[in-house]
Amino acid sequence: MNTLEKYNKVFSESLELNIDQLSGLQYQGTALWDSVGHMTLVAAIEDEFDIMLETDDIIDFSSYEKGKTILTNSYGIEF
């Protein structure tokens, strides 16, 4: 499974969405991506990529695309 597939899997499992619903998705843009969903998503991403997200990044993680940018720019995870 490549990085993008892992990222998509975490998103789709945490927010109970299909892969084709992820593009353009934003925080609070779907029922399960509320604050509780955000905590679960962040924890799942940390677990999947074995990283520790900084506070600023947790707060800035406001969309599916923004998450990829954060992981690439700040944690060296290439998609």
Binding site: S14, S35, S74
Partner: protein
């Protein structure tokens, strides 16, 4: 948003936040108790050297939420037992309004005895207690940060394992804790039928130095 450790001078805000939890979660002993009980309870906890209450405060000084925990739940139970009279007096208004609570309080008091077989919560080691966020606050995404910061503080202060409880009715919170690295240790059924999971998180693992940290690129 910034975090700070709660002091006795913050007691009214803590009481208010915890008391208002009943607006969204109205089951359990604490959701039936009046404010006088909460005030005495937190007065005792805030004077306990093992207690850590981390506050989230916005730029206007408004308290948005808190996460409480103890480094030593056995010592906390001993302290609560020592103050049983003041707690009982503070609970009188609650008992008058709902006399059944006398029995509930008695059972909980007995459960704080080290030899008691009936347990409602984790009874040894470090324990995560309450994690409360003001439902009217729009910055609730900070609640995750608050929670993990409180775990970090526990870790820095020497706790490797932190135990806590989640009722299965809070299925999404339960899922979060599992994703966050906690594991189920056991399960109890409360008198009101609620199923409660006793969980444990290994903070060495959670905050492992081997994890990739921000690169600063």
């Amino acid at each position: 948003m910034h975090f700070r450790l709660a002091k006795l001078s913050d007691i009214n805000e803590i009481v208010s936040l915890h008391y208002n939890v009943r607006d969204t979660y109205s089951v359990g002993f604490f959701s039936k108790m009046r404010k006088s009980f909460f005030k005495q309870y937190y007065k005792i906890l805030l004077s306990d050297p093992n207690e850590i209450i981390l506050y989230a405060e916005d730029s206007d000084g408004y308290i948005c939420g808190f996460a409480s925990s103890t480094l030593d739940v056995e010592a906390q139970f001993r302290k609560l037992r020592k103050h049983k009279i003041s707690l009982a007096i503070a609970a009188i208004p609650s008992f008058i309004l709902n006399p059944k609570l006398v029995f509930e309080a008695w059972k909980r008091y007995r459960s704080t005895n080290a030899n008691s077989e009936q347990k409602f919560v984790t009874a040894t080691g470090a324990r995560g207690e309450y994690w409360v966020w003001d439902k009217n606050n729009k910055d609730s995404v900070w609640s995750t940060v608050l929670y993990n910061k409180s775990l970090e503080i526990m870790h820095l202060l020497g706790s490797r394992f932190v135990r806590f409880e989640v009722d299965t009715i809070n299925s999404r919170i339960l899922l979060f804790h599992k994703r966050n690295g906690a594991v189920e240790e056991s399960k109890i059924i409360l008198d009101d039928g609620r199923e409660r999971i006793l969980m444990c998180i290994d903070l060495d693992k959670k905050f492992s130095k081997a994890k990739i940290k921000k690169t600063g690129i």
